[in-house]
Symmetry: C2
Subunit: 337 residues, 2 copies
C-alpha cells in the first residue's frame, strides 16, 4: 500500500512532539536552530511531503481552482486553460479541469463535484444547453467565488471576462460584405448563450449599416453547440438547399466553423462560391480547404485574466462588492478568394 511519511513518523523517529516537528518545518520560530536542522535534514532524508488533504480539511481551502468548460479538444478552451494554468501555478494554485460536453446534466454534476471537493473557486464557461442556473447561483449565494469567461451569465453579480463578440462579428460580416456578398447566412450557437446574442447583434448591425435586409431564414441555431455533427449538417444543408441560397456564411463558433466546412465539402458541389467567416482559435485554420476567414479570440489572455480575478476574490479579506467585466479585442484574419 501507498503510505507516505507523516509528521508523526518524524516525531517518533526523532523523539520529539508533532508540534515541534511541524513548527520546525514551517515557521520555525520558537524552535532552536539545532532542532530545526535535525528535523529538516531528517525530513529531507525520508522524502517527507505534507499531506494537502489534511491541510484542506483544517484550513477549509485546497489551493485548487475548478474550471468548467464544454470540451478541452476545442482549441479556444485549451488555450484558455493554458492561460489559467500559467497564472494559477505561479500563485500556488492547482487547476482541476472538468468537461461538460455542452450537456446541462454534466455541468450540474461537475459543478457540484468540484464544489464538494473544496475547490476554492470556480472558473465557468457555460454549457450550450444550460438554461437553468440555480446550481451555480446556490453556490454563489453560499459564498463560493465564481468567475465567468467567454460564455458568461449576465444575471450573476461577479467578475466576468469575455471578448468583444459584437465587434468581432461586426467586422467579420463587414468583411464578407466588402467581398461583394449580398446574402450572408448566420450559423449560430445555442440561443441562450451570451456569446450567441452578442455575435448575432454584431452580424445584424453590419447588415443594417450596409442596407442589407435581415432574413430570419438565414439564421440558424445549434442548440447543443454542435455537439453532434449532424446538428450542424442539417443547418448547413438547409442553407445550401434554400431557393435563394446564401453567398456567404458567418459562423459563430469554432466547432461550428469546422463542422460547416466539412458539410460544405461533403455536399456543396460549388462550395468555392460561398465565402465562410467564423470564430475559430484552431491552429490549423490556415491549412483548411475550403478556406476560412476567421475571428480569433485572445484565449490565453482571457484565461489569465479570469484566473487573476478569481484568485483575487479568493484571497480577498473582505467580501467583494464591486465586480468587473473585462472585454478583450478579437482579431480578424481574412482568407481565401
Amino acid at each position: 500500500m501507498f503510505k507516505p511519511t507523516t509528521i508523526k513518523d518524524i516525531a517518533k523517529a526523532l523523539n520529539l512532539s508533532t508540534s515541534t516537528v511541524s513548527r520546525a518545518l514551517r515557521g520555525g520560530y520558537e524552535i532552536s536552530e539545532e532542532t530545526k536542522k535535525i528535523v529538516l535534514e531528517y525530513a529531507e532524508k525520508v522524502n517527507f511531503k505534507r499531506n494537502p488533504i489534511a491541510l484542506s480539511l483544517k484550513e477549509r481551502r485546497s489551493y485548487s481552482i475548478g474550471v468548467i468548460v464544454c470540451e478541452v479538444a476545442n482549441q479556444f478552451f485549451s488555450q484558455a486553460i493554458d492561460g489559467i494554468e500559467s497564472v494559477a501555478y505561479s500563485k500556488g494554485y492547482h487547476v482541476i479541469i472538468s468537461q461538460t460536453h455542452d450537456s446541462y446534466e454534466r455541468e450540474v454534476i461537475n459543478v457540484e463535484h468540484l464544489a464538494n471537493r473544496s475547490v476554492d473557486g470556480l472558473l465557468v464557461s457555460l454549457s450550450a444547453e444550460t438554461k437553468d442556473y440555480s446550481h451555480l447561483e446556490k453556490l454563489h449565494d453560499q459564498g463560493l467565488p465564481i468567475v465567468f469567461f467567454d460564455r458568461i451569465l449576465n444575471s450573476m453579480n461577479t467578475h466576468k471576462v469575455s471578448s468583444n463578440n459584437f465587434k468581432g462579428a461586426f467586422e467579420a460580416t463587414e468583411f464578407l460584405i466588402s467581398k461583394g456578398c449580398k446574402r450572408i447566412a448566420h450559423l449560430a450557437n445555442a440561443s441562450q448563450l451570451s456569446i450567441t446574442a452578442e455575435r448575432q447583434k454584431g452580424y445584424e448591425e453590419a447588415l443594417r449599416q450596409h442596407h442589407i435586409p435581415i432574413d430570419k431564414e438565414l439564421i440558424k441555431y445549434c442548440k447543443h453547440g454542435g455537439r453532434d455533427q449532424i446538428e450542424v449538417e442539417i443547418a448547413v444543408r438547409e442553407f445550401l438547399s434554400h431557393d435563394n441560397p446564401p453567398d456567404a456564411i458567418f459562423v459563430a463558433s469554432d466547432r461550428l466553423s469546422t463542422g460547416c466546412l466539412s458539410t460544405m465539402k461533403k455536399y456543396a458541389t460549388h462550395h468555392h462560391d460561398i465565402l465562410v467567416a467564423g470564430f475559430s482559435n484552431s491552429e490549423l485554420v490556415e491549412l483548411l480547404n475550403p478556406s476560412l476567414s476567421y475571428i480569433r479570440q485572445p484565449a490565453f489572455e482571457m484565461g489569465e485574466k479570469a484566473a487573476e480575478m478569481l484568485i483575487s476574490i479568493i484571497e480577498s479579506k473582505y467580501p467583494i462588492e464591486e465586480f468587473e467585466s473585462i472585454m478583450l479585442d478579437t482579431t480578424l484574419h481574412p482568407n481565401g478568394a
Copy 2:
C-alpha cells in the same frame, strides 16, 4: 465565507449524536426507521453533502485518478481523456488532468503534485523530454498504482496500453511506396519515446521489404515533440533543401503532422509533389490542404482500457503480480493524389 452543512450541524439540530446521523445517512443498520427518516429528510432540506476531503483523510483514498499527458489540445489525448472519463465516472472516480507540455520539469512537478493530493492512481503518457524516470519509479515502488498509455515506459512492471505503432507505421509507409514514392523521409518524435522507436521500426521494415535503402539523412527527430513550431520547421526545411529531396514524408505524430504541412505550405513551392502520411487523430484532417493520409489510433478505446486497468489495480485486494500489455489496432486513411 463558504461553509457547507456538516454532519455535526445536523446532529445538533436534531439533538442526536454525530454517529447516529452518520449511520442514518449511510448504512442505516442499527438505526430505527423513524430516526432514519427524520435525518434523511432534514439532510435533504439543508442540502447536506458529505465532505470528501474528510473522507479522503480518513480512508486514505480520494476516488480520483490523475492523468498526465503532454497537452489536451492534442486531439489524440483529448479523445483518450474522454475515454478515461467515461470509465472513471461510471465507477465513481473523478479525473484530474495535468499537462506537461512535453517538458520534463513540468512532468516531475505535476506527478508529485498529484501523488501528494492523494490520487488513488496515475495514468501516464510520458513527456517527450523525459529520460529520467525516477520520479515515477519512486512512487511505483511506494505502491502507487500506475498505468501507462501511448507513450509507455517498458522498463516499469505495470499495465500498459498502446496502439500497434509498428503496424501503423508499416502500413503508412507501404501506402506511400504503393503510390510510387521512392525516397521517403521520416519526421520522428523524441528518440527516447517508446512510440518513436516502434514507428521507426515499422517505417524501416516497410522500406526493407520493398528494397528501398534506408537513408539516415532522411530521418529527423524532434526532441521536444514539436512543442515549438520552429523545431518542426527546421527539420522539414532540411528535408526540402536536400540535394536529393524526398518525394514523401512519413510523420510520427499529430502535432508533427500538422507542423509539417504548415511548413510545406509556407516554404515549398511545389509541395503537391510531396506526399505526406502521418499519425493524426485530428477531426479536421479531411479538410487539410496539402492533404494528409493519416493513421488513426483508437484513442477513446485506449483511454477506456487504461482507466479500467488502473481501477482494477486500485480496487484489487491483493498486490498484482501479473501485468498486462494491451495493443490496439490503428487504421489507415489514404488521401490525396
